[in-house]
Subunit: 428 residues, 2 copies
């Protein structure tokens, strides 16, 4: 057996502490799988006294010194955020060390810089844990499906929002009430914005779209809408048509004038209850992949939490350690396809619109005219009278998103429309 | 870009013809992903005149000569069966060529010889397509979960039997009738034994168990029962308790005296309709994985067919080509854990037993005594009277399979038991 591979772990929170624990607990298994012992070289933390489970001799408050130590072969970054994570990863790469990270925000903001540095240095930068926790997803996309042509990746990739929407669906609660419950149970952070406003899902969507379509995609390329505006009325409206509301990350290869383009978006959508993603509840994640030859694939599992995320980190750690022993880095990213990003306004979507209208002659004609003026055609229509007022529920055919949004704006201005009570995109 | 990688394809049937077609159609994408052009060197077939879609200059009836050609870098074996596939693969490896195969029967019978040869020669032997068609499953088990401790892999891995059981469930048909329908639609072969008798699923179970538990497992180690004896009464009995019948491949790491062992089995089982595998119908495959840190994962997709299987072959082809360019083979198999195989008789299972009994005093006592004598305890019991006769439906707690089988034998001999109408294991 070869000389030991020494690992520096940066950060010892929910994920890092599990990585440290499992490197100890599974030492024999990991060594057998790598072909060399895997040893902890050090753990960088902010407050050493808090980490009573870790050998004090391993703890340091100077992550940069740890990264640069000569005896460190591999670096695990589980601090999160942009800085100091980026500087530490770049320093590790510059020292010829392979890096495993779970940092979706950094990869979605500046993955290109990191990947280029890793390629130039001939080291690995692996990040399976950054999307969908324990679910093997990035390696399948990058390697298993490398011989296929991907069309679409659609997933539930944020557990907090999925928990909130699952509760709203189950209890009829509004967003604030469900968020309070999620916070009380520890499913939502004190500042829930990264989750509920869709930032977390958008970072993951950027990573997925980049891998799926061999194109550089950043978080800024992702059209992002969170779930804070989802109302109990939206959820009830979805129920009435046999659907449920999910926050979806949708990455598509679409035809556009001048060739294919990539559309990437995160927004709540109504999906039929018969859709496999509709049954994904609480903190679980699931991702649907459509490929030309493989057809439809689905991956399902725990999207967050210490041990599941640590499982993904350790899988990557075994891989980069093996690659190092073999003397060649594994497959890196590629952006050769370099497809343009399709703006959201030009992306084809379909809307569910529910509105209260006056119940008199000419109302439907006025409403239908608003749709027609924007070239939007109606797929299904349901009208229910209630005294002098009626509820009109319509689902459109697909049309450019900007045409649909403009139609809704015009509907709101119509005299006969007393209120638009629910507008949401429809998928599947 | 590097010099071209030249591929020999052995066999040009349902899968091979798609591999040949896609190498042509996706040439630009494949080259970009590999970092070198991928070119067909030749296609070995038995009857060249049948393959009008393939450039005649590529066709040969001498697979061994093709394998040994100096300009061939990579070999795809999609002939199937033991010989000549084994000799051809070993010859390719001996010549220093990496091999991609979909041959589950050969891997399950003699994988050890092939893996040892590949390791000694420093080449890759990849076989994602051998289990569950297009579903990325072997790479996730081998690489993504390399940092975790696997407990259980349970799957529906044979589309033909799943189609037949889905039909029996949907229509109430018997096995023969459903098989006829499957044959007429092309879902079952003229000689359906490999599928309906569980040989195909058993080969896949051996491959999955070997990867999951880092232990050498062959088809002979797999306890195998097919679906030919599943009756309409079994399916109806399952329905009555909210379950459905599926042919499952079950690979478990179990505690045994003297340490952990591996239990591998393929048999029909009743699973609750709420179980995610219950909703996997027709020719789809799905595999559940339980790992210590990752928790429960599920993989779902098309388990067979030309393009889906070719997708998996091409994914492997891109990987072995990249590894060759990088100058180091990818991660190979490992059997370091070397766990013993637990015999089926000692494996804990649970039975559903339905029987017609006389409806008089003392019957239940006689039946209960038969269970007690073998140390089997009863989990649920339902009795329905019909005149002088009653139907007794029982589900046992888990017990060694041999104790359960012996109990059933004794029940059949009891005077008060007029007939045992359905016996089937229960999972999930």
């Amino acid at each position: 057996m070869s000389a030991a591979m020494k690992v520096a772990v940066l950060g010892c929170g929910v994920v890092g502490s599990q990585v440290v624990r499992l490197i100890g607990k599974q030492a024999a298994e990991l060594s057998a799988r790598i072909g060399a012992p895997l040893e902890l070289a050090g753990v960088a933390v902010r407050r050493p006294k808090r980490h009573v489970d870790v050998d004090p001799a391993l703890l340091t408050t100077d992550p940069m010194a740890l990264v640069e130590r000569r005896d460190v072969d591999l670096v695990v970054e589980v601090i999160g955020g942009i800085e100091p994570a980026r500087s530490l990863i770049l320093a590790a790469i510059a020292c010829g060390k392979s890096v495993v990270t779970a940092n979706k925000a950094l990869l979605a903001e500046d993955g290109a810089t990191l990947h280029a540095a890793a390629r130039a240095a001939g080291v690995d930068l692996y990040y399976e844990a950054s999307v969908a926790g324990a679910i093997p997803l990035l390696r399948p996309l990058r390697e298993s499906l490398a011989g296929d042509h991907l069309r679409r990746v659609v997933g539930i990739v944020n557990g907090t929002t999925n928990y909130i929407l699952s509760r709203m669906d189950a209890t009829g609660a509004g967003f604030s009430e469900a968020l309070e419950e999620a916070t009380a149970l520890g499913y939502a952070e004190a500042d829930p914005s990264a989750d509920v406003d869709g930032f977390d899902a958008a970072a993951k969507a950027a990573i997925l779209a980049g891998l799926a379509f061999h194109t550089r995609v950043t978080a800024a390329d992702v059209h992002r809408e969170g779930i804070a505006d989802v109302t109990a009325a939206d959820v009830a409206s979805a129920k009435a048509m046999g659907s449920t509301v999910k926050l979806l990350a949708i990455c598509e290869r679409v035809s556009a004038p001048g060739g294919d383009a990539v559309s990437v978006r995160v927004h709540p959508a109504m999906i039929p209850r018969t859709h496999p993603l509709a049954g994904v509840n609480d903190a679980f994640n699931a991702v649907f992949v459509e490929a030309e030859s493989a057809g439809e694939l689905m991956f399902y599992g725990r999207g967050a939490g210490g041990p599941p995320t640590a499982s993904a980190v350790l899988g990557d750690l075994v891989a980069v350690a093996r690659n190092r022993l073999a003397g060649a880095p594994g497959p890196g990213e590629s952006a050769y396809a370099d497809l343009p990003i399709r703006p959201m306004g030009l992306t084809d979507t379909s809307y569910h619109i529910s509105m209260d209208v006056a119940d008199r002659a000419g109302v439907l004609a006025a409403v239908a005219t608003a749709f027609a003026e924007h070239g939007v055609s109606i797929s299904t229509l349901r009208q229910e009278g209630r005294g002098d007022q009626a509820t009109l529920v319509m689902v459109t055919h697909v049309a450019p998103d900007s045409a649909l949004a403009a139609t809704v704006d015009d509907l709101r201005k119509l005299d006969v429309v007393r209120g638009v009570t629910s507008v949401m995109r429809v998928e599947g």
